[in-house]
Subunit: 411 residues, 2 copies
């Protein structure tokens, strides 16, 4: 990776067209590394819902607006994991030898659609024959998983709140974040209930935004940038659309796990993300990681819900199965802790403009590994000291697509 750019994620920017948003992030990335248009061989477009845009094929409109026609491009999509999948596709464009330099652009404009309608669009991303007609919705699915986690492992709502507090607090120093906040456990618990046990502050918000990552082959990377960052490995997993199809599915073991960690559980498929573990396993194999907590300095993960951050600690092997609640409580996931999780503020505090989110994570990770957070944020309070290796994690549906990519500083 040789450069990146992000717009401020925010609600209600109706005057800014989605193309303008992407161009803003794109220009930032191009200028930051001094890259010119003729050096870009092609692109990958990342956006979720044609419905939100009331426009199919938005990607080609962005391609044109950026001045990238007639170069190759395609759209990659996979719900909430769209950004992560597009980033990995950019990686494959380079690794396959097809392109030397690839621009991956992600965007979403959501806030012009009212929440009710927006929820309807998002609900169409669950099984419309089974779940949708009976009122199934994502907050409900996640609430159910959280309840099971609490029942099985004794996880508490206070532990969920800790995730919200940590991420919103980190965002106080991230100028790109939508909702920086200083919160207490009481604030989180007293905010409006969405789906018990998840309150308003346990759930990320819809957002408008764009993010751009520019990837290059090894040779080109050193031509284009003084400080490229290595994309060491990628991993992807998938799972059934419906939670109901998942309770008894076997969960893959991570390198630092033994069967005993989950084999006694009644419903492993409900509180663990099989796709997340599959993705982590592939990425760890590719990077030669056997002890994630020791070998990874920071993680930008898909915390659409506080409970899913806790589930994901476990699925990434940062702690043992069932110990996600105490993990956040221990402070190990804090900035300055053992492994900073969502130093940017994550989706909870940055916002979640779907197609942009996974790309945003890659940009923040890129800056961390370049040691340039101070330059790009205007303050270096969120810079993870001596960050050598970061993990980015993108996640769709109830865990239908999950991507994990490992990025490393280049000495």
């Amino acid at each position: 990776m040789v450069s990146g750019g992000v717009t401020k994620f925010a609600k209600a920017l109706p005057t800014m067209d989605f193309r303008m948003r992407v161009k803003k992030a794109f220009d930032y990335a191009m200028n930051d590394a001094g890259i010119t248009l003729d050096q870009i061989d092609g692109s990958v477009a990342s956006y979720f819902a044609d419905h939100f845009q009331r426009q199919l094929m938005s990607g080609i409109m962005v391609q044109d607006y950026l001045g990238l026609t007639p170069k190759p491009s395609k759209r990659v999509e996979g719900g909430g994991a769209t950004g992560g999948l597009a980033f990995q596709t950019g990686f494959e464009e380079i690794a396959s030898g097809r392109m030397d330099v690839c621009a991956v652009y992600g965007f979403e404009s959501m806030s012009h659609v009212n929440t009710w309608k927006g929820n309807e669009f998002i609900a169409l991303a669950s099984d419309t024959n089974f779940d949708y007609p009976v009122g199934g919705f994502y907050t409900g699915y996640y609430a159910m998983m959280a309840r099971r986690h609490m029942h099985e492992f004794g996880t508490t709502v206070e532990q969920l709140a800790k995730v919200s507090i940590k991420n919103h607090k980190n965002a106080l120093n991230n100028p790109y974040a939508q909702s920086p906040m200083n919160l207490t456990v009481e604030d989180v618990r007293n905010s409006p209930m969405v789906a018990s046990p998840l309150t308003r502050l346990d759930v990320c918000a819809m957002s408008d935004g764009a993010a751009v990552a520019i990837l290059a082959s090894k040779e080109k990377a050193f031509e284009l940038s003084d400080h490229p960052v290595l994309v060491k490995s990628i991993g992807t997993g998938t799972d059934t659309m419906r939670l109901a199809d998942r309770p008894f599915l076997k969960v893959p073991l991570l390198p630092n796990e033994t069967e005993g960690d989950y084999s006694k559980l009644e419903y492993p498929g409900i509180h663990s993300f099989r796709a997340g573990r599959t993705a982590a396993k592939e990425a760890y194999q590719g990077a030669g990681i056997t002890d994630p907590l020791e070998e990874i300095d920071f993680v930008e993960l898909h915390d659409a819900y506080t409970s899913s951050e806790i589930q994901t600690y476990e699925d990434l092997g940062l702690c043992k199965y069932g110990e996600g609640g105490s993990f956040v409580e221990s402070g190990k996931a804090d900035l300055g802790g053992k492994v900073a999780v969502n130093p940017s503020g994550g989706l909870l505090a940055c916002g979640h403009p779907v197609g942009a989110t996974g790309i945003m994570q890659s940009v923040f990770a890129f800056w961390q590994l370049q040691n340039t957070i101070g330059k790009h944020f205007g303050n270096d309070k969120l810079q993870v000291k001596n960050a050598k290796r970061g993990l980015i994690h993108s996640h769709a549906g109830t865990g239908t697509y999950v991507t994990v990519s490992i990025m490393e500083a280049v000495q």
Copy 2:
């Protein structure tokens, strides 16, 4: 490529779910080469419109139905070129070393939606701020291009009709085709006018269908199949969403062209597809092709309109700029002619279930190069004799995304 499968393309198969359709094509491909599920490393999903399905993330539902979870997957989309882009993404999954065996599955269910509503969905794939509000629609855009081609080069409606006659006739021997027909010029001209000069028989139909291509690394290919086919090279181009932005854009030259061939034209961007030429150029470079007419044995191209087949002859360098009309008249594009174009019947006669179409082309090309059309069609009348090299061509919008891939028989 080691195997392929296609369902019969047809209208009104409401009792068959899109998953069942894909499974049918998938099982055919798996059985034909004797491939087992555990040999598949991952997949690429190809489908166009969430709107048609009234279901987002259909790809993951197919992934699950085929038994491919938790393996990696992603959806690739690019309007009418979705299938071609997904096929090329499968190629890149292999070429990048990420997978050894990749299943690329394409599908679309369109006929349950009435034509009026379907047209509205498709219209959302044009610029909804400029073209859509003033009644712009694809048949109109193509009619405009056809008119300009006629004005500039003297192309006739009878020449357009020849394309329809040829493709519908070829389909008489293709058991997978939706509309095999024996037609005369009068039949085509007397069918209902859609957008002058294009009649009903100048335009492809909406369809239901699925197609699957299984791609493998060189090593794996020879393990899995006695008759693999080489995907020699790929090319992709893009262009502006609106025709109105295109008239004066410079058109790339093909290896066998000189500037004089189009430099005197007033509006090169209206009767040539810049993205098509860009894609062809990249694919020809990759395959070392300098004289397409001599070096390619057959072409499966995106004939959504008879006029676009004529335009595409030129953009693929099968004839000179402006000579597409006389090219089809000469019989060179007939089965048994210099280069068989759409021996399968193309989109005009096979139907165009968007996400499946480009994959279908790859399957037919695969069988041609395996010399197994007789086996798969039940008759070998459409087998191109001594086919050594084929070209497949997928196309979106008014030429916004175009893919060209070159496939070769393995000796």
